[in-house]
Subunit: 338 residues, 3 copies
């Protein structure tokens, strides 16, 4: 049975969500509690209607110039849950940009109609630039980074932490656990963000299992060492997953296949198959940021340790929680109110 | 004056809408009554606001990978009528599918954010596959087939039946009537579904009027004979429409023009023109699933027997009725409640 | 301090918004008052929620077959403000049109699902045609022209007038003022509409400043003379802006560059730069319909006389006001009600 000490909300209001590095342990613990409470509201018609009464006076813009159906729908649904009206830009270039408008002017325009911008863009650092630009105007609005450039996808990292905490709640939470990350560790944005957030927990060990050519990059290696995080890198898949309290699978993007990185044969050694299930610990949490291809056997979906579908739905709830914090209505999400 | 005995709702809850073959006469009669009641709610601001209070706690996904502006808008508006928040996929391929995700995984993802999926797809049988797949998960959601493959478009057939029943209500309803279907009877999805649903009525006769190359297919012919339905096939347009209580016009898709099917000259003999109006019975119901081209003269729009524009709006109301049944709130649609 | 005599609403209900020529001074004064009141509602959660309770029983269609992200979002947000559910068409051609449907049939179809159509189209005169067509059916809906053909963009002109009136309220309003319009006066739709609306005010003078090849067209020149409007045309930028109570900058579309119109060098003489700010009157209103390129220096954004970002947000509020008038709920927007 889960027993958690109530956690206080952060003393500083949340203004933007730009990078996973902005979150500390106190924030993560509070977010876990808030998200769990919100999910309980979803159990009844009254609870759902109450959630949708929190922000009917707010409008959001989903500015997704880098396509991502999954993340888009997750955020859009989170808006709907709270009664927020959401507008969207899903074209790579808006008609104004085609007319020669700067991306800053475009986003300032959008900001003038809404109260929040959720943005996903291939341009690294654009979120910070826009947040700074708007903060200098008479009508700043919060910016949420929904994936930008090669590195940052902070809400994905938050939902991964939520799912880990939730799935390990009867095992004492994330502290002291071994997390095995598998696949393309070199380019995987989710792996990089999650590894960094895990430095907020005590006694965690990460095992990075990948082909030689897909090992983590130097910058991440350096950051983890600086944070005193225990980790090892291996090409040996089976011992790695056997030792793990959580296995975080990711897709190897073989469309990027280059010489010296090992061929398709090599990748296949990093696929999790139904035949591996007996090797895993009884409480092992199987995760995947999805979409998957062959690296995660669909037969595993039936195993109670498979949490990736819940992980996806958790993403919506974590985003709902983040939105309540950005608009300062998180204190209205308390169960006895119902 | 219309006098109808109240019909009880079906004893089994409606779980999915997959095929017109799942509906029997009792269902059709109940749906007629429910839709008619819903339309009365639309007459006042209070009624409209009441309808929108029925399902504000539900979210729907409109997954339209086969384009259809008309059907899309009809369903989207039906969602709006009931307060349902609707998300949409209108691209032929989602970004996840481009990343190699299976269509099953994509739809399971979408299902995790919403409470209902309305889908239109070029893939025959996809609706059934998805419904079965989701029914085996911990969080199944209803599937509504909004047109899939070459054969099924069940809600179109339901709205056609509604419009026929409504338009013939002072003539004793559909029983005993002669329905003339005109045009491309070989490939027309609406003709096939409507003809099948008409087997639920007593004493109905269908006249299929088309060029030789556009006659109905063997499978439909066989099914109608098995159901004991009276029908005839003819290439003689004028006698057919003269005998009809309802004329159901359809578009001949001459982009498919093939040798031996008759040329453009031939099609033109199956166009309904203003000069034909005097031939029709006084109560004859003129229908068309739209969009139309030359086969239905715009001058006919002014004739009181032309029901195709109402047919289109009826489509929205029938879909509203179906949605209330899928979520089990159809019993809340009762006029004295207002 | 602003002191305005209350203005009565127009005695005739507003049925469509098709052309800026349909508005007179009494309408413009009332619209100013209504919009200003609506903006005050936006100051509190209660006010915002009240606005969204005005039209939750209405559905709108945004039919934008000519792309315009900015105008689209402005209207969509205006719908959201009032609780109107908005559907959208943003493709150049709908799937029905690809199947050979006439644009009239397409729009009649859309009208059958909604209570209002807001349309932007490259086809000159389409709005009038559709409004007339629907007025002859049993279920007409209001049409709002959101930009059609080369000439009309009536709601842009209304928001320009609103911004001028608002920005000059401590200077006695628009009457007696000098407005300098700069840039592409030949093709600029906003310049043409605004100049025409200014004929409703007393003692206004317009200075048109542009390269020789971008002067206003004969038809506008003729209309202004017929209306007794004082105006002059000049190629001399600096004296023009020095004399102005308002400078209305527009983009010179050098993609249209043709021989004899002057080259890029020439355009640059019509760019407003930070170094020009000391030349302007203290109360001078700097406007631009946006998007901008080089003709309006971003450094000017910081100047308190720069009103173009407010102008943009005003656009949303003016559209909210117009929508309340089209649905006859403008009389419910009264501040003491709060």
């Amino acid at each position: 049975m889960e027993m958690m000490t109530p956690v206080n909300p952060p003393s500083r209001p949340l203004r933007h969500v730009l990078s996973s590095s902005q979150f500390d342990r106190a924030f993560l613990d509070y977010l876990y509690q808030l998200t769990t409470t919100i999910r309980r509201f979803d159990k009844s018609r009254e609870g759902i209607v109450y959630l949708s009464s929190l922000l009917p006076h707010k409008r959001a813009m989903l500015y997704f110039t880098q396509p991502s159906t999954r993340t888009f729908l997750s955020f859009q649904s989170a808006c709907h849950v709270l009664g927020i009206n959401a507008s969207e830009i899903r074209d790579a270039a808006t008609s104004s940009e085609r007319k020669g408008e700067s991306v800053e002017d475009s986003l300032r325009t959008f900001s003038s109609y809404v109260d929040l911008i959720i943005m996903r863009s291939p341009i690294a650092g654009l979120c910070e630039r826009v947040a700074n630009m708007l903060d200098a105007t008479p009508r700043p609005v919060p910016i949420v980074n929904a994936g930008s450039g090669p590195d940052e996808h902070p809400t994905q990292a938050l939902l991964d932490i939520y799912t880990l905490t939730r799935s390990l709640r009867t095992e004492g939470g994330i502290d002291g656990k071994t997390v095995c990350m598998v696949g393309d560790l070199k380019r995987g944005r989710t792996v990089r963000s999650l590894a960094r957030l895990l430095t907020n927990y005590d006694g965690v060990k990460i095992i990075f299992a990948s082909p030689e050519g897909f090992r983590i990059e130097d910058d991440l290696r350096r950051d983890l060492m600086a944070a005193g995080m225990a980790f090892e890198e291996t090409t040996d898949f089976l011992p790695a997953i056997e030792a793990a309290d959580a296995v975080y699978m990711t897709r190897i993007q073989d469309e990027y296949d280059v010489p010296g990185m090992g061929g398709a044969e090599d990748y296949r050694r990093y696929h999790l198959k139904a035949e591996h299930l007996p090797l895993l610990k009884d409480h092992c949490v199987i995760m995947h940021p999805l979409p998957r291809r062959d690296e995660l056997d669909v037969a595993i979906d039936q195993d109670p340790r498979a949490k990736y579908w819940r992980q996806e739905r958790n993403g919506m709830w974590v985003r709902v929680a983040i939105l309540t914090m950005l608009f300062g209505v998180n204190d209205k999400v308390q169960l006895p109110e119902l």
